[in-house]
């Protein structure tokens, strides 16, 4: 009788995953900021203390094993590593100094390179030796626009009252930067689709998932409140700095948009002031307040990165992005200051740098660390939608109390 026949062992092969240690990829990870990766001996302390470990998967220990085996496909589509906010509780408690927090950080940048389209731009953004090309593109475009503007000598704007729109009129800015945003939007969409496709395979939706709209709303609330971020114990102050930077740049984005709107209102004959504004003009105030917030946030982040090892080790990828943010703020204020003191060459020069950096920030959004806005938000929405829930460690008086049952569960 056929039904009494036992299944051959290979019959279960469909649930058995072939594993092939990828030595080359391990070496790449080791060389990109996860140098301590191999110290991990899989004790699971990281998982026990991690505030976002899902119920059924020992994060980040499992990712550490994947990384030690060089399982690239598993790593780049790790949903959990994108939910990780690098609070570094894991690295703080790691008995071997394997720095799981840093490894997750590297995994995220690998994830960006893997999914971001076009891939060559993503690769350039991650490469310390090629990243200059990404700066060169806006330098040429913006210079060309300034030079090529119809009407008058190219450097005519240098004489007379300093008005930045004389160098780069608002419509020209809009053309260049809206194009940059559009480019970023299209590439972001392509990138995120690839990412979501991988997530669907690796993390099928379970019964506990939220409806899509609820998931989106919940995520937006989480992002704006920094709820998860403020739960970090090891690096609580990072959440504050991040909030300052985020709200600062949102403010700056609104400021810039408002400038454009007022400009067009004025163009259409409405009673609207155009830049430069009075010091107490609401747009001006918003710009300066936002700039100050962003400045404080960036400074805090830079100071922390430079002084503290507690928040993990930064890679070139982290540094570039942070400096770009910081310099956008500095050049923004710098332009204003030199304008007020009526020093034309420094004022216009710094404004040019400012424009190049803003272009970099917007156009390359999916490839730089800015991509985290994209991937992390997508991951957060996906996690809510697919029903992935975290188990919280017990924290008492600032100490992580090891939850035995949790530890046992993840021992294997």
């Amino acid at each position: 009788m056929t039904e009494t026949m036992t299944q051959p062992v290979t019959g279960s092969a469909n649930e058995r995953v072939a594993i092939n240690g990828d030595l080359e990829f391990v070496q790449r990870l080791l060389g990109s900021g996860a140098a301590e990766l191999k110290y991990c001996y899989q004790c699971s302390t990281c998982t026990v203390v991690c505030p976002i470990t899902p119920d059924e998967s020992p994060f980040p220990r499992k990712e550490m094993v994947y990384a030690q085996f060089g399982l690239k496909e598993k790593l780049v589509s790790s949903l959990d590593s994108w939910l990780c906010i690098h609070c570094n509780d894991c690295s703080t408690h790691c008995p071997r100094g394997a720095e799981p927090g840093d490894v997750m950080n590297v995994i995220r940048s690998m994830s960006i390179v893997h999914f971001a389209r076009p891939a060559f731009l993503a690769a350039a953004a991650q490469s310390p030796s090629r990243i200059w090309m990404l700066f060169l593109i806006p330098m040429i475009i913006i210079a060309a626009v300034i030079m090529g503007l119809p009407g008058g000598s190219a450097f005519g704007f240098l004489s007379g009252t300093i008005v930045f729109s004389r160098m780069m009129p608002v419509p020209a800015i809009d053309v260049v930067f809206i194009s940059a945003i559009a480019f970023a939007g299209v590439t972001a969409l392509l990138s995120i689709l690839g990412f979501l496709r991988a997530l669907v395979v690796e993390y099928p939706r379970n019964g506990g998932g939220e409806p899509l709209l609820t998931a989106i709303m919940g995520t937006v609330m989480d992002v704006f409140s920094h709820r998860k971020f403020f739960e970090c114990t090891t690096s609580k102050s990072r959440a504050g700095a991040h909030a300052l930077v985020m709200y600062g740049f949102i403010g700056l984005f609104i400021t810039t948009t408002a400038v454009g709107i007022l400009y067009y209102m004025n163009q259409f004959g409405m009673d609207a002031q155009v830049s430069p504004y009075d010091f107490f003009h609401p747009v001006k105030v918003l710009g300066n307040v936002s700039g100050t917030l962003a400045f404080l946030g960036c400074s805090a982040m830079l100071a922390r990165r430079m002084s503290s090892s507690k928040s993990g080790t930064a890679t070139a990828f982290d540094w570039t992005f942070l400096w770009v943010l910081f310099m956008i703020v500095i050049t923004g204020f710098g332009s204003q200051v030199f304008r007020i003191f009526d020093l034309a060459i420094p004022a216009y020069g710094i404004y040019y740098v400012h424009l190049v950096l803003v272009f970099f920030l917007l156009a390359y959004m999916p490839y730089t660390k800015m991509g985290h806005m994209l991937f992390r938000t997508a991951a957060m929405i996906y996690a809510r939608w697919s029903g992935r829930t975290a188990v919280r460690p017990v924290i008492k008086d600032g100490q992580v109390i090891v939850n035995r049952s949790r530890f046992d569960r993840y021992k294997r």
């Binding site: 062992v9 290979t10 279960s12 092969a13 649930e15 058995r16 995953v17 072939a18 594993i19 092939n20 240690g21 030595l23 391990v26 070496q27 080791l30 191999k38 110290y39 001996y41 899989q42 998967s57 020992p58 220990r61 499992k62 094993v65 994947y66 030690q68 085996f69 060089g70 399982l71 071997r96 294997r412």
Partner: protein
């Protein structure tokens, strides 16, 4: 022989405050009519000791009863030579530090201890050492790293050594090694096996006599006088004399052909021993000669497995880490997987684990191997369940190495071929290793003067084996030295008393020869026992076993203990004056009582404690003695037994249990509650619980009511 006893009561250490010392003196003087009874405020002071010395000389005393501290203190202070019997009544530990001061019960207790120990002192005889013509040369069996180290260490200490090796060259298993695991700081790099230096040293040492291509035909005799016969080249015989033996015959790798569930039958599945040979040959290849690009090491192959070896051999993980290094050294693109159940890298080997783990081409995961399959191209697929990778995974490799454990070489071969009544081999303990007591005496076997070292002792690697070899050599040296002085060896080091048999009353029942844990006793053709004194460790198990009570020591006998019991004054009234006798094993329970005293833990004043060398020496007549004088209950306190036994004499507590089980019946016949006699397992660190045990027992006795034989 003169029998003049002096009783001395120290009033220091609160004894003077707790008791009325004068009344205690009256007990000795009136009841025992001792010629001298004195008291001293600090008996252990120079003045006190001089007083004792003076009295020994002037009064002609030959026995001293010291009502002072426990015999575990001031042993040397109160040593007056072997002609003077010194009996210690521990009034400090058993009375002044554990009982309320100046109470009637406390005074009665102290008086009883004076009675018990004065009685004992009057019955004891001075010890006489066992003198024989002692051979101090040592026999080391096995010419591997362990045996060579043991021989060399002994020779360097000045002892002649006979080193017996079955092969025609020295080196043993280590000769097969490609590299060895690190032996010193920083414990990160493998080392060359480097045997040449050791072999040269052994071969050139003037005190070492090599017996190559030789096996042991037989060993007879006792420590200090082993007569050894060798088979040389399988034919000729050679004989020699040795004082002690170190067995360093190593282990044997577990038979990998039994590991069919791990695919040993496949072409490219081999044991770790075969892999070591492969690496030593210079090429890590598959069976077909092709280079092996990836190798998977499966840990615990046949270890920690009830169907194979149930234990952990402790070195296989470190060995696999070393061998994974061989794979990586064979090419930068080579990969090694290690699938383990628990990574066991004892002590400093943790550093080696870290170092190997840091190699990006060594992939480690915990997991259970559920299958090993051969593919068409002869590569091998290892199925791993419960892996840290989260799913059931399959790993394809060119070669699979099974990390096998080790068994004692004595498992199927006695090797020493002892001419003992108890058989030719060393008795096996846990897991078939001939270890006698792994906690306290790591090199001991159950045959006195014969020690094991290295992998025959327990699974261990070369580094641990070297240390083990030196340790065993020291034990062998201690044995010949103590034996030459006629003294017993560990644990009653230096004891000069041996069992004496009144053979005219022997019934040839053979219980003593059966129960002696160390094979001390043999029988002549009539079944009459005779003793090899030098094998004896003085536990007294034979004395307890003898149904006709013909075995005794000069200072320890059924009669002495019996008379100590009978000397105790039992009040007729039971109310508030019950009496409980405690027999306490001197190795665990007596120290526990001393520790209770140090911490001033109080316990019932109704108990009287008699130390025994070992609970295995319990003679049932003491139970009837105790009951007939009116004791309401008897507690036997000895060490823990079972697999992780703590008995210094293998299974004294267990023997006591067996013997006491026979008492139950008798008690029931006498209409006595069998629970009046109870045995307890007390280890030294249980001392805080002992008072509670006594309290509970006393409460039960109260329920049973008085012993009906009281006052009869």
């Amino acid at each position: 022989m003169a029998n003049k006893t002096g009783v001395y009561i120290c009033s220091g250490c609160e004894i003077g405050e707790a008791t009325n010392v004068e009344e205690l003196q009256q007990v000795a003087l009136k009841e025992f009519r001792v010629p001298v009874c004195k008291t001293h405020p600090i008996l252990c002071s120079e003045e006190g000791v001089n007083m004792l010395k003076g009295d020994l000389e002037n009064e002609g005393l030959d026995r001293l009863v010291l009502g002072a501290c426990s015999r575990r203190y001031h042993g040397e202070t109160f040593d007056f030579g072997k002609d003077v019997v010194v009996e210690r009544a521990p009034l400090r530990e058993y009375v002044s530090w554990t009982q309320p001061h100046q109470e009637e019960d406390t005074q009665m207790m102290a008086a009883d201890y004076i009675r018990m120990h004065t009685t004992a002192a009057q019955m004891k005889q001075p010890a006489t050492p066992f003198v024989q013509n002692t051979e101090k040369a040592l026999l080391v069996v096995g010419g591997g790293v362990t045996g060579m180290t043991s021989a060399l260490e002994s020779a360097k200490a000045g002892y002649a050594v006979h080193l017996v090796e079955k092969e025609d060259r020295l080196g043993g298993f280590a000769r097969q090694l490609h590299r060895r695991i690190p032996s010193g700081s920083p414990y990160e790099l493998t080392q060359s096996p480097d045997l040449d230096e050791l072999i040269r040293e052994v071969e050139s040492h003037g005190k070492i006599t090599l017996h190559m291509s030789s096996t042991i035909a037989s060993i007879a005799g006792a420590p200090g006088d082993f007569s050894v016969h060798l088979n040389v080249n399988g034919s000729t015989q050679e004989s020699l004399r040795a004082g002690a033996v170190v067995l360093a015959s190593g282990g044997k790798p577990y038979d990998a052909s039994k590991l069919t569930h791990l695919g040993i039958a496949h072409d490219n599945v081999i044991s770790s021993v075969e892999f070591e040979q492969l690496a030593a040959s210079g090429k890590i290849v598959r069976k077909d000669g092709q280079e092996a690009k990836s190798v998977a090491f499966i840990q615990c192959a046949g270890s920690r497995d009830p169907n194979h070896l149930p234990y952990c051999s402790s070195f296989c993980c470190t060995v696999s880490l070393k061998q994974a290094g061989y794979v990586r050294e064979s090419g930068a693109d080579k990969k090694a997987y290690v699938i383990y159940r628990d990574m066991i890298t004892p002590g400093q080997y943790e550093n080696f684990y870290r170092a190997q783990q840091n190699d990006p081409g060594i992939f480690l995961t915990k997991g259970d191997v559920s299958g090993v399959h051969e593919n068409a191209d002869k590569t091998v697929t290892v199925d791993v369940d419960n892996s840290l990778l989260g799913e059931k995974v399959a790993i394809d490799v060119d070669l699979v190495v099974l990390a096998i454990g080790i068994e004692a070489s004595t498992k199927d071969d006695p090797i020493l071929n002892l001419q003992y009544r108890q058989g030719p081999s060393l008795p096996d303990q846990k897991y078939g290793f001939p270890d006698s007591h792994f906690i306290c005496f790591p090199y001991e076997t159950q045959r006195t003067g014969i020690f094991t070292a290295g992998a025959v002792h327990q699974p261990m690697d070369m580094n641990f084996s070297r240390k083990d070899a030196a340790g065993a050599a020291l034990k062998a040296i201690q044995t010949v030295e103590l034996t030459s002085q006629g003294k017993t060896v560990h644990p009653r080091v230096g004891d000069e008393t041996f069992p004496v048999f009144r053979l005219d009353q022997c019934t040839q029942c053979k219980r003593c020869t059966e129960e002696c844990p160390f094979g001390v006793l043999e029988e002549d053709e009539h079944g009459t026992p005779f003793i090899h004194e030098a094998r004896c460790r003085g536990c007294g198990v034979c004395m307890g076993a003898c149904p006709v009570r013909i075995i005794s020591f000069k200072d320890y006998s059924v009669d002495i203990i019996g008379d100590m019991i009978k000397s105790i004054e039992i009040p007729d009234e039971f109310e508030e004056k019950p009496r409980i006798l405690i027999f306490a094993c001197e190795n665990d329970t007596v120290p526990a009582f001393d520790m209770m005293a140090l911490e001033r833990i109080k316990y019932s004043p109704y108990v009287r404690i008699i130390p025994l060398r070992c609970l295995g020496g319990t003679n049932l007549v003491w139970v009837s003695d105790a009951l007939s004088v009116g004791f309401d209950g008897v507690m036997f306190m000895g060490c823990k037994y079972g697999d992780d036994y703590q008995c210094h004499f293998i299974k004294g507590s267990e023997l006591a249990k067996t013997r006491l089980s026979k008492v139950e019946e008798t008690l029931s016949r006498l209409q006595l509650e069998p629970e009046r006699i109870r045995q307890y397992e007390v280890s030294m660190n249980d001392y805080k619980q002992v008072a509670k045990l006594i309290e509970n027992f006393a409460a039960d006795i109260e329920d049973y009511g008085p012993n009906p034989f009281k006052g009869m």
